[in-house]
Structure formats: C-alpha cells, structure tokens
Symmetry: C2
Subunit: 331 residues, 2 copies
DNA sequence: CTCGTTATTGCATACGTATGCCTATACTAG
DNA sequence: CTAGTATAGGCATACGTATGCAATAACGAG
C-alpha cells in the first residue's frame, strides 16, 4: 500500500539498511549513495513510518503531557510552550488527561511507548508516578509535585510573591483577608496556602477559617467563593486567589453583585496570564516566568531521557507581585 | 526489557496469538483460557504496545488535529471537545501546528501513521489537503475549508448571524461601521466578510475600504485595528470583528484610548466563547454551537475512516446574534 | 465404528525500520 | 609485494502484535 524503505532501496539499487542509514545521515554511507537514495526517496514520496521506527529502535521521540482537564484556561499556556520546546528538540507532544481511573491513565501513557512524560497534574495521591517509575519511564513534575516518588521538577516558589502581596495588602489597610484556594490534594494549593499564611503572619495578620474557600482551579470556584464571602455580614475587603483563572471568577462575581473592584473589594491572582494584563482586566497578581518554567521542565525531561543516571534536579522559579488595578486601599 | 504478549503467553501456558485474541475478546478463545490469560496479564502488568499494534494491524487509533498556532485563545475550545469526542470512540488525539514549510507538516502527519486528520487550519492555498488525499489519509475540514480538495466538512454558516447583527446595528443608528477581518486566505474570513457585506447591503449600508482592517485572528489584530480606526478624523461608531479573540483586542484598545464601550464605540464579536459572556466582558457576539460542530467533525472523520466510500457530507451550523453590553445606540 | 462438524488453539508470517556483524574493496605503510 | 586498515555496503535479525491457515480435539449423526 504505502511506500517503504524497501521500495526506495530497490529503486536506488541498494539494500534496505543502506536506505535507513542514508536518510539519517549515517557517516557509514558514501556521499554518492546518499544522494542516490535521497533522490529515489523523493521520487517515491517516501516517508518513514514512526511505528516501524518505534518498534525497531525502542524510541518514539514522543512525550506525553498529562493534564487534569483541557477546559481549564490555564493549560493552553502550558501546552503551547511545551509543544514548541519539545519540537525544537525533535520530540512530539501527546496530550493526556486524567480520567476517573488513575490506572487507565498510566496504561495509556505506557502503551503509547512514550519516551517520557510531563506530569502537570499529579495530585498528591495519584498512582501515576508510581506506575511510571515501575516501568522506568522517565518523567518530570511540572508545576505540581508528589512526595510518593521523587523526580526532576520545575515548580513555582510562591514565598516571595506572597510576601509582597501580604505587604501590599497590609500597606493598603486590609485586615479582613480571604483566600480561595485550590484542591487540598495538590502541592500547588498547599504550598501557596502555607506561603500566604506565613507572609500574613509576618504582617501580624491571619485568615480565619470562615474566610477560606476551596475548590478546583477554575472560574466557577472563584465565582462561588466570592459570592459566598459577599453574603457574609462582615465580608472580607480582599481576596487572594489560588490562581488567575479563579481570580477571573471572583471578578465576575463581584461585578454581578454590583461590588466595586477595587473600591469595595480587592482581588489578587496568581500566574499573571496574558489576559491578566489586558486593559479591560488589569488584575493584580503574582507573576513568575511560566514559559521558562515549561521550557525547563521539557529540558529536564529530555536530559533525563538521555542520561538516566544523572542526579535529581528540582528547580523552583521565584515569584513577585505585580500591582495593577484590582488592589485598592480600604476606605 | 518490558513485558510482552510472549511473556504472558508463557505464563499462561498458551501461544502468543492466543494472548492477543484473548485480551481483545475474540470469540475464538474459550472462556476458561481467556480468564487464564487475563490473570497472567494482570500478574505481569502487561500493557500492549501501540507500536506493535500499529505495525501489525495498520491502524493506530490516533487522529491528528492540525492548528495554525497553539497560542490562540480560540483553539482550546476546539481541542477539549475534540479530545473527548475522539476518546469516546477509542481514538487518541495528536496535536500538530503549521510551520513554515507546508510539506513538513504533511510529512509529519503521514509518518505518524494517523488514521485520520482534522484540518482546523487549512488556508486556501495549503498543500496539506493535497498530500493527504494522495496518501489516501482520511481528513475532515473543520471550521475552514479549501476548494482545492473536497472532503467532509463542519463549518459555520455566518449569514443569519450577520443579518441579525446588521439589523441590530441599523436599529441602534449606526451608519459608520468598520470591520476587522481575518486573513484573506482563510475561508472563514472570506465567508464572514461576504455575509457581513450582504447583510449590511440589505440595510442600505456598506463598509468603505478605509474601515477595513485585516490580520490574523488574534487580540493583537483587534487592538491594532481599533487603535487605527480611533485615530481617524471620523472614526466608526461600531466595529464588527472576525471573531471574539479579535473583539477582546478591540475592547482593550478602546479601554486604553479612554473610549467608552458601548457609549462611544460598539463592538461585535463572533464565536461566543465562554469568556464572552463573563460579567466583566459581556461581549455582543454571533454565536453558534461550537461544541456540536467539533463533535460533528470528529464523527464525520471516524465515519469516513470506517466507510471510505460514503458520499461527501458538508454540514453548516447556523449562527445568531447574542446581544450583550458592547452594542449601544449612537447618540 | 467412521466420517463430517464445530470449537479451540498453534504455526507461520507479515508489518517497516534499525542495528550488530560480516564481507569486499580500496588504500596505505613497511 | 604483503599485511594491515579504513571504508562502504549487505546480511540476518530483532522489535511486539495481529491474522490467515492448518491442526487437533471433541462430538454427534449415521
């Protein structure tokens, strides 16, 4: 049906292995033959089969990216740089998402014959890292980590950003501060909460339990949490959100409720997504170099694939506050 | 290294082909053996290799999705439903993006051994459809089409939406109407322009050349176009945008310039992305059922794979205007 | 008791590429 | 002139699964 390296070999008058070598610029084939093979391949429109390659070489030059869900506005900002960074190293990206059964995910990752996996999703209790380790399938934690299995990682260090946020909140006179946090079984949610509490403590403040709302990192969570806070007899004057997407939900809830931002309510995000700096949004948020973080994760993974024995590398990216229009002074 | 069907066969005391059949519920293997094989497979943690399967069966159960770029805010809304619809049919999704050389893209699609391709990107002059046709690789046009090669397609019919937009604009007293359109080599941009011009003509209006701005379907285009219009001695009172992402750019430009929307300027989008209906945005836009369109495209493709001979199916999804807060009355 | 059937399983092989090893040729050094 | 050494290419085979066909066993009918 389709044209194979054997067809090319026949046309060029060489053996199939020579075709394989010629087209991959193996030094063992002479310049003349290489040219002849190339010409034949072009003429037949030969395209090597990844499946054949994978089976024979044991490598696919494909890398999996595991996300919780694709709907989330945060993920495109991971997918794009990951795709390009991997592409520049000659790797292709395969998307995967969590499904109900954790083991099914692991099976898919394995059956795909991936050379490595970027885990951008792992909850603390996921079995995926275990399964991957058992298979000796290289992987890197991105954004989140899991204590169960150690691996290279690229994450944000929220301490500096949260410290600056706490200082700014204090300086603007905020005392009643709420937080809308991510799921308790994600390292990101936990780390940000810890950093936030410590930073507030240094300012002599704290968050009471009633000012805490938890949920997935999406707009619905931000919306629901903010709505809830606004019905309180003494609503908070500021809300620190688990990430920008949550903060967008908070902004929407405030607008719907007719509550002015930042006059009546201040909102702080985390991630500094491109849309956070849009003139119509101008979200005050904690920023870090997301693109660089993605690229680092990709590089770590490729490096790990090529030298499985090298020591673990855990890189944390610093964060800082970017003040825009959603943080105001308490009257 | 990894466990294969041979290992399972040995443990279960059967031949390798029997393992293959047993695990795929082939009726030719007895219930007893099937159970024995399953047990052995579980015990060894056997996971079949996609590469082996692909090579042997000629099918990969993988489908490619070709996009122009991953940065664009529009694409996540395609990727997610496509991913899930394909998954529900037992197919996996592979992302691909256009790169400088058109032929390189086609080669990748081919070498991947995909069972089919969703073309969400094809410019009118792309060679990709030609290459795919030559390889007998099934594909479906999504959103855009190309005249060079006919294939199943799922697209928006903008006529009704544009008609309603023109009526609404007219009713609100707009006479100076501008448009920020997509690239001239995309069918979407062309179709929307035609529909818009016809609809305006029915209202006795038209768009002068100086009120036309063209560029990629991104926020930068919307921003630049709007900035440009606003510097004119007689700026338009309304801008119809090629899609919502462009409209977001327009909103930003207006805000930056201190121009009120909709008091000084009305803006209309196209797509009705989830964020268009956010309280803090409230974009007036032309809507259609994007999710259904994606699912249709996926279904068409799978159907085409299974019955290559069936007649062509071109489905157009109707559109309509959704009035929100960015369309106002001219003073 | 024999023959035709059906139900199960195994055998052989194909899929397309990569790679270790051997061979043949040409070339260099002594 | 010979032995040693690159250099270039071919041969054989492996990778893991699926599948057409043959083989065996079990079984019932006559």
């Amino acid at each position: 049906m389709s044209v194979t390296s054997h067809d090319v070999a026949q046309l060029a008058g060489v053996s199939q292995p020579t075709v394989s070598r010629a087209l991959r610029d193996d030094p063992r084939v002479s310049k003349a033959t290489r040219e002849r093979v190339r010409k034949a391949a072009d003429r037949l429109g030969y395209v090597p089969s990844d499946a054949g390659r994978a089976l024979s070489s044991g490598r696919t030059r494909r890398i999996g990216l595991l996300l919780t869900d694709l709907e989330n506005q945060f993920y495109p900002h991971i997918i794009a740089p990951a795709f390009h960074q991997l592409e520049s190293h000659g790797y292709q990206l395969m998307l995967h998402t969590e499904v109900a059964d954790n083991d099914v995910v692991a099976e898919r990752l394995i059956s795909n014959g991936l050379d490595g996996v970027l885990l951008a999703t792992s909850t603390i209790d996921s079995v995926v890292p275990l399964r991957l380790r058992d298979r000796r399938l290289p992987f890197v934690y991105f954004n989140r980590t899991s204590d169960a299995v150690s691996a290279d990682s690229a994450v944000v260090d929220p301490t500096q950003g949260m410290r600056e946020a706490a200082e700014a909140l204090s300086k603007h006179g905020h005392r009643r501060i709420a937080a809308i946090l991510g799921p308790a079984n994600t390292s990101t949610a936990v780390n940000r909460e810890i950093a936030l509490r410590e930073a507030l403590a240094q300012q002599g403040m704290s968050i009471p339990a009633r000012y805490i709302h938890r949920g997935p990192f999406d707009t619905a969570t931000g919306h629901a949490g903010t709505e809830h806070f606004l019905t309180m007899p003494q609503p908070p004057t500021a809300i620190v959100c688990g990430n920008d997407v949550v903060a967008f939900g908070a902004l929407n809830a405030a607008r719907s409720a007719g509550v002015g931002v930042p006059d009546d309510l201040s909102i702080i995000g985390f991630d500094d997504l491109p849309s956070a700096s849009w003139p119509i949004i101008q979200l005050t948020t904690i920023a870090y170099d997301l693109d660089a973080m993605v690229r680092r994760a990709a590089d770590l993974l490729i490096d790990r694939i090529q030298s499985p024995g090298r020591p673990l590398e855990e890189s944390a990216f610093p964060s800082h506050l970017i003040e825009r229009d959603t943080l105001g002074t308490v009257p």
